[in-house]
Symmetry: D2
Subunit: 335 residues, 4 copies
């Protein structure tokens, strides 16, 4: 029997989770919620996800737009084994889930304190085992953990300095700028370092961040002081043995985030998404114990498989993190 | 038995044709050519398309990159029933095809004179029946013909004025700008009007064009002087009955080309492509005999189904244009 | 003696008016208002403009920031002969000006009804003579009037169709997008046509508009049905004899709005502004009575000289529009 | 008597140097060269700079365009005391200057080896005293040296890690992209570190670089390991006492490079240029001996004052670097 998953908030992340979860052999989406009858709501119907209004107040909106709903969140929640909360941050549904005794997963826009447990499959799958509330860390933090955690366990890390060159808006988000500017995050170090530490507390890391006028991917320039001297081949070998890292080559024509996204479209994943972190193999360099690398983060989708794994851990469906990751990846098409 | 199709040039258009053709029940791709061992060449292998070097001079490049090829274009062509020429314009392969007595289809970057026959499925499928050489018109011309041709046959057209607001580069093409400017095409009227007339000679149309810093879609602002007075509902009804036109609504949150592309990704077509021309239903207005509308053109893919239909016409596989279009669309996922 | 001008709202337009007015021999700026102690407020001080808080509520903000103010708008207004209202639209200061019996000029963001008199120096300077309240039309409408009005008076116009390809945000405005999309104005025809008619009611004009991801200039693609057949040389000659139109040439390397702005910087106007409408001479074409042209609009500054002329007309300082325009242009550096 | 300066190459840098040099009391521009009769060549004439064709081959181009030239580079050079070589890199004029025994200054696009002497006014003015050939380092290297050199001399530096987030094209350069991508420089560490060391060899610095779709400024995220613990106030105080560093504040509304450029326009420098390096005061943070800061670099103009100082040093016009810098800055309007 499949576990029943409710998606509260069918937006950028919610719609991807719906597809990824439904693709798994041991889970099914029993409904998704929406506040407005947008084209995304229509798409939910088209894809066969039962559509629920986020609250009673919104039902009439859907009626007016001629879009059928199966009820409201209140009707959906009791049927679910677990809720994926993909609503905007600080919406405050926690109490509602608690009252119903439901397990729930939040996304990285929320603070660590909301759940006290921040999640990355490779780093702390076991910690979430049986937990009621979990927060899957943000796309950037997930990206950092994917490549840093194996370095940390294999070689040891003295210190990390990462500069996050961030896309300013998602592709569909046409309201946000800038059109022609670079905007630094003046709070230094930025929150990404502490966010990594919410999962791996002992990892020394400082981050700064700048926003740039692009919509498709974030890019990180990372410098790691390792505890021992290794070659770039060693590092590449280590990452090749790690799930959810994919290599790209400038020498093969992948010179920017644009060609990475083109490659992702060619891979024919859903929506042209890239669940893996993309690392340039010809951008990995070591000088003594110092390791330099660049990685690109598909902000819309890299957390998707982590969420699926979190479900398995929290609902005690699979004890072995690697087995869960393998299943997840297989059914969303990660090779 | 399936007809055998060779793809000469596995790039932006070539790779899409390969997928679309292979998806058809009556066609198969027997090989694709490439000049360099880029990531796209790798993807061809991954997707199972036999890879050929474009010429003998290039074989060593592939060998060095460890990418297996099945031979060269010279080996591929004799086996094909028809060649899709997706090479850069003016590459001059025509003589080679002629010598082998092969049929061939070129793309809109070529001049009309190369084939003497420019193609749009709805407008002149019959004209290409049995033809040896055909040119499928460009993405913008295809877009104009999709919406104008039904108006022309149903209501009659006195005159069309269209301004093409063009994306400046494809998403993967990071070399081209501008980053922050608008660039008019100073040759006025632009070549798009005469290109429409290469298919429908009697259609009066003038066009101007400007390039803008976006990568995802072209947008046309069109004003048509119809021969009779109709309502916007009439026009929308006519277009709804026409293949390969899709409606979007500003009122549902699709306010720009960005949300159209998001919708296309949600539709789960290959690569997030949109084969249809997208027309804003709340942007269609009539004032007397004047009709105003906006349409968005997915420059990478709208010509794909036209190419498939051209094959059926040229190889005399199907006499009825609508039946060919229906088959094509069904197998590439157009609803 | 110089007339005394107050600038209510020292922002994008306000700061330019302050400089342009102060440069005139017959006017002086007696103060500018600001709601917040931003860097622009600092710049006002640096440039020697007496700074006033927009209201008493805001004085403490300036005090806290250590920025000296000379009082509030209430202190400034009584001293002024005329107020340039450059506040955001619908701020509702009209009543205040009326109570004090002050003349005032608003910008194009306001509706025509606010003043009942919309202004363009060449088209209706005389109409504003002695008027109390005037609205200077927006940058786009000003641009259209600059080139259309001489055509209208010299050759007669049957009809105009203009597509406005609009910049989406000013250069400093980093909050607004889109970063990568084209967004049509779905209300068709757009408001720009009627806005032209608020100055020249008999001019038949329809406009559509699209927003594109650039910050520096708007661009118009215009098609005019003239009442008589003329050559492109005739039209260029007519415009050369018209103030505030400047010609650029694709053949000299000015292929886009970017090179126009570069030229403006080379001309060493204040802030690199371009008060003139830029018309591509190699983009002017006539076919029979049809005239095609492209023009570029510097949205931040083309209305500046019109505002200066409006002051002279309203305060009855100069009866002859051409004399006023000549004076204005001379002192702001238009050659 | 003023020293006579020839500008070989009146482009982005050349035209700025022409203005800045002509503004100095002890120098004059005796001519500028150009290869084509572009609008920039016209502007040279308009601004009163004698225009020379770069070689005899190009004279006819200017004649055809009706643009008067005073001869060719061959005519200009013998009259000059020094040549500012602002031609594209590797043009190879060195031999020509040597033959005539002329002093010459190149820009940062050239390699250090061309002159063996790379220049930054504050760091090594004395080293260039009397030299024949000098290379003024690039905009990014100049920016790094401006802020790092005082730290280096005052506190000592153990190590620097800087990530250069680079604009991809100058504002006028509409050919170059990307429009929507981030492109890392895969050569790691990037050349900027060694370029800093071409001026200050003992400074430990590693840099990486990414290109982003903006045209107006570069931005650096810098982390410095100082030799002693200081406060951010100390650092800000040190930089305030250093020429050619200007502070901006996020709290005053300067949140990105766009508002910095707006401020520069408000400062009414020529072309809206910013000769200073802009440092966010609320982005300067110290943690122990670690210093974090962001700086923005106006790529078109920050090297301009350095070039003027290099002239004074090479022609032995002024021994004291600070006096030269003060004079330079005064006459180009740096406050």
């Amino acid at each position: 029997m499949k576990v029943k998953v409710a998606i509260n908030g069918y937006g950028t992340i919610g719609k991807r989770l719906a597809d990824a979860i439904n693709a798994q052999p041991d889970m099914e989406v029993i409904g998704v919620t929406k506040t407005r009858p947008t084209f995304e709501a229509k798409m939910a119907n088209l894809r066969g996800f039962p559509l629920y209004a986020a609250s009673k107040d919104f039902v009439s909106r859907f009626d007016e737009a001629g879009l059928e709903t199966q009820g409201t969140l209140d009707d959906l929640l009791p049927e679910a084994d677990i809720v994926m909360d993909c609503t905007p941050k600080k919406m405050g549904y926690k109490e509602m889930y608690e009252k119903l005794g439901k397990k729930a997963i939040w996304q990285g826009g929320e603070k660590h304190d909301l759940t006290g447990l921040s999640f990355n499959a490779m780093a702390n799958y076991e910690q979430a085992y049986g937990a009621q509330f979990v927060r899957v860390v943000s796309c950037n933090t997930t990206g950092l953990l994917r490549t840093l955690y194996p370095l940390y366990t294999e070689y040891g890390i003295d210190n990390v300095l990462a500069v996050m060159v961030r896309r300013s808006a998602d592709p569909w988000d046409t309201k946000r700028g800038p059109i022609n500017a670079i905007e630094p995050v003046l709070k230094v170090p930025s929150h990404h370092g502490p966010d990594v530490q919410s999962v791996v507390p002992e990892l020394n890391i400082q981050t700064t961040a700048v926003k740039v006028p692009t919509t498709i991917m974030h890019l990180h320039s990372v410098v790691v002081d390792l505890k021992k001297e290794v070659s770039s081949e060693d590092v590449i070998g280590l990452w090749k043995a790690t799930p959810r890292i994919i290599f790209v080559s400038g020498s093969e024509g992948i010179k920017s985030t644009a060609q990475i996204m083109e490659m992702a479209r060619d891979l024919c994943r859903e929506r042209g998404d890239l669940y893996e972190i993309a690392v340039w193999d010809d951008g990995v360099h070591t000088v003594g114990k110092k390791l330099y690398y660049y990685q690109a983060i598909h902000q819309e989708s890299d957390v998707v498989p982590e969420n699926v794994d979190a479900i398995r851990s929290m609902l005690e469906m699979e004890e072995d993190k690697l087995k869960s990751m393998e299943t997840t990846d297989k059914y969303i098409g990660v090779c």
